[in-house]
Symmetry: D2
Subunit: 353 residues, 4 copies
């Protein structure tokens, strides 16, 4: 999230939100542009997209709402699920704990940070925290855990396994805490190598989640899903959070396209394929990468090479490793091409020769 | 804002946000789609649109920010300009007081309602309120007025004159209260017959305003403008309100188009022309209309005719007048066509014959 | 609530909170001072006071909590009973709408103002508002009424009858809105001439109320009562509102005294007796008073006489009536004496002679 | 903060808020009880106490406000000093981070936790955090540090030295962050052995602090001090937080007594003397204590002995050390007597023999 360069002809691995819309999404926007329809979520495409999402999730009763962005979706859902004195549990590296400018706190709720295991929450940490919390005779003087938040895939590109999520959901159920899954990059997570569950499974193992559009081929929009139905008054709650789109078709049309002919998953698959090839390229050249089966790849570069490489392809620096090395992030998306990878590989090869 | 019918082939005067994007806006989205650029407002089109807006406002130092929607823009700006114990002054019929689900209160601030004069605030009401407020020995026990909010054009389709706004701004300056103008439909207000000021004049007679995109030809997006520069930390404040667009190009590209070749004003002009013709049609048929020089027209219909007319063209019911009559709203936009008006006129004529 | 003079030897009718504690309350504070006991509401006197209040209310299951002040009690209870997007209904003159610096809004909730009938809400207004609200096709875009707030006695000194409160509670029940009664001066209301219900009746006709201590003989403290039991987590909610007293005995001891030997009601009765005598004095001298059966009396004084009278007794100006007359407030309390009334009567007599 | 036993005849070291008021405080309450005076902070004793506190702080321009409790004081001051998107920096063990039920977050602000060094913040941690924060290219996407909070003495009984506080304040000044000192037990901190500064020095090395009354001899009340004057509108802000006492004399009279004849410091001194004797008693019997120069002493007890000791004197368990040992807290106050210590010593001796 460094402020990256502006338009450029260089191949870019900076992020999965520096392109426009996937061509099929854009085409649907163009083709429907002259049709008049209702607003505030009652347009035909939102209705259609909701139905397609319910089907894709195998949750016929699901409440589905389209919001403009991810921070907004997180803050709105969390505030809807908590009582005023309650807190949300998340890992240290969670987006809500780090990169949302305190949006959750701005609506009145503490974020309680648990240890991050390469971005993941671990059920045993969660259980231990809750056991200790309620064993503490002073617990009623503390912000009371009221829900659990995880991201899939995580901010560090890792994913959860079925067993891991099941364990977390088990603890949640025992303590009657709703589980909310931030799926800003859900398409990449579900298509990741090694992901052993699909969308319906996920939808049946949490109480709320969102399907990220902005980072998976849309211009904007996140689909918030409550598999067992939305909390009472959620429509008004969304508006009170300033998150209700008047011209809701902008999100509806895009999600209608994303959930037609499996586009959402095809986008995910393409980016993952490209990420795995990118990984292979780095590995072939002897670079060390953090484990990540998704579209965000983290590579350690020597600073001189990093500067040279930046003349050829765009990417972000993540954090300094030592005086001479930096962890860098390379992200693929629906827009990543063979040519992009080729430029990368040639640039890296040049260092060796 | 009744939940209107879905897609239909009937001419629609339901709202100015039930169409897609203006063709020139859409074309810009399509043409720029494959260019990669930065995010969070640093994309080239946002940069370009900001510059064009500064020029159009003749405010070279203006801070310009693109947010997704109107309620969001209102709540975010108001919360940025007030201290926690302060309130915003607005008229009874103000959007923030009626149709935003308490979004201003949700960020901690009272809306103090002054009388509405066909949607307008009147400087003398404002002055009297402030005089009485600070003369009250208990004023420090009350929510303290910290800013003033007006809409231009108003929720009822009326507009302010130069003299009226000057008077309001004079009172604001005397009491050191920032004036914030909600311009969700600003393009229609500035192009209205009888509007005696332009965008630069407006920008020099307030402390903050926004240029509505959603209702004036864009798919989404409102441009918040601080003519003398934004409050410190406003970027982070926007994110904390969940109002920062990651893929900011979605708004940037659209505003870049809207402020190219005067498109924003051409859209306004077209809708106003159509509204005046619509007005004339109703008048010719002997109907009574509320005074409105903008793109929202309010007509009293006999209930039986209203039902019949609804089979021919779409519009919204506003409020019952008596047991037999209803105030109805007809809205024009960039998309309103000659053919639409013709269907309306023919439908009305049928009642007479 | 003018900022009144400091200590003085003049008889004071300024307010019911400008004295110390009732002697019996003070004595209990002194006698228990050296006993050690638990804190945060678990001290023996809080336990005892809770039990006495449950008995006095004939609500054996009631949740009872002692908070320091009235604005705090209102904001804390209202925030506990509402969802974030919900509003509280109250009359225009309600304390929460006027004299609490926006404390309700500061915790995120709109106050919707209904007409005030000499301080009272009228069931028909409430019913009409709710009928219209839910009939409005745009209601989901508005802050949704989530509870009703009334004061007994009202800010203007008037009281509700059984029939009036029953009607309000009936509407509340129909719409499933909790009814909360602000009893900052409850003791004076229940002892007022013409009050046709008692504490148990009140407790069985609302969902929450508070028994004001600060204005009825205590140094501080309000007893919040939930007749059917407190909302889940209310203890923590109170603390999150900064309203939990660590050394809770300060409130517990005082309420223990107030609910011993009917002290709370004896204080109410004394103040009412004194208020009725004060009323009679004014009437005998030909002054016009607003109707009020409680300890707040509102009298119209000619400005010259008002100035003269202020040299003899202390009272507050309420609001100007015209250029030559002012509405003034005279308040009695447990501390009002025969001598105070005598000075008043002699001062008034002097105007005549 | 275990829920301790109710009234009892056993010597209690449970807390410094399980007694009533110091006799001199109580006497002042009794003696002033029948004097009428103004309210909302304008009573004569509040005026007098403010003046005495300004003198004691050598801050003639200080703004001084009396609030009912500590959590309230923290939440109110912090919300007054921050912009909505800003966060407060505090150590992990800070009261606002642990034991205030999320009150700071409830008013919209994140608490950023730095490492705790036996309860203390260390300037180098603070500097490093701020350096890294503003070096992070994504810092504008995070809750921005807007002030610093420390407690003196800390929640673990430790104190700051002049050099340590000076270093923290230096970092604050460099980054223009107000420094707020929570002095819930300030009297004990300033009188602690080894404390090398006094009240005026402290007042000149921060931007806001509060002088705790509840835990230092009063029934309730904390004096918030802004050495350079209060933020604009702070009176109304206090009321909006539900923290304004109507019958303000309850706090005013008590602080007037506490700052007469150095009572506040005499109470501190007595409790410290008793704590040092208590320490010596434990040490003589071979027990291990955490370092603490203040009135909170932390001792490790074997669980069997702990149970036995609890039959003789009251104290709180703090946290388990291992399967057989528990860290226990013993607190002294103005009310701790020679006899209390004697019972403790005899009880401990019994274990040996």
């Amino acid at each position: 999230m460094t402020k990256p360069s502006l338009t450029t002809l260089l191949p870019s691995f900076e992020s999965d939100y520096n392109n426009g819309a996937h061509p099929e999404v854009l085409r649907h926007l163009v083709e429907t542009n002259n049709v008049q329809s209702a607003s505030y979520g009652f347009d035909v495409w939102s209705e259609s997209a909701r139905e397609k999402i319910r089907e894709a999730c195998e949750c016929p009763m699901a409440g589905v709402f389209f919001l403009a962005g991810g921070t907004q979706a997180n803050a709105t859902v969390i505030d809807a699920l908590l009582r005023p004195y309650q807190a949300v549990l998340a890992v240290e590296t969670a987006h809500i704990n780090v990169h949302e400018s305190g949006a959750v706190e701005a609506s009145g709720h503490k974020v309680i940070a648990l240890p991050s295991h390469e971005g993941r929450m671990v059920a045993s940490d969660l259980r231990r925290y809750l056991e200790r919390f309620f064993a503490d005779p002073t617990w009623e003087h503390m912000a009371v855990p009221g829900m659990v938040y995880v991201t899939m895939p995580t901010e560090l590109g890792t994913i959860y396994s079925k067993v891991e999520l099941e364990a977390i959901y088990g603890v949640c159920c025992k303590y009657r805490l709703p589980l909310f899954i931030d799926g800003a990059r859900l398409g990449y997570g579900l298509m990741a190598e090694g992901c052993d569950f699909d969308l319906p499974w996920l939808a049946h193992h949490c109480d709320a989640f969102y399907i990220g559009g902005t980072k998976v081929g849309a211009l904007c929009g996140e689909a918030v899903v409550f598999p067992q139905g939305a909390p009472e008054g959620f429509f008004t709650h969304v508006k009170a959070h300033g998150a209700l789109l008047a011209k809701s078709r902008v999100a509806g049309v895009q999600f209608d396209a994303l959930f037609t002919d499996n586009l959402y998953f095809r986008i995910g698959k393409h980016a993952i394929d490209m990420a795995m090839r990118l990984r292979a390229i780095f590995k072939r050249q002897g670079y060390e990468l953090k484990p990540s089966p998704t579209n965000q790849q983290f590579v350690i570069l020597e600073n001189g090479q990093m500067q040279t490489l930046m003349q050829k392809v765009l990417f972000e620096t993540w954090e300094p490793i030592d005086a001479h090395h930096t962890l860098c992030r390379f992200v693929t998306s629906w827009a990543t091409t063979d040519a992009d990878l080729q430029v990368l590989e040639e640039s890296l090869s040049a260092f060796v020769s």
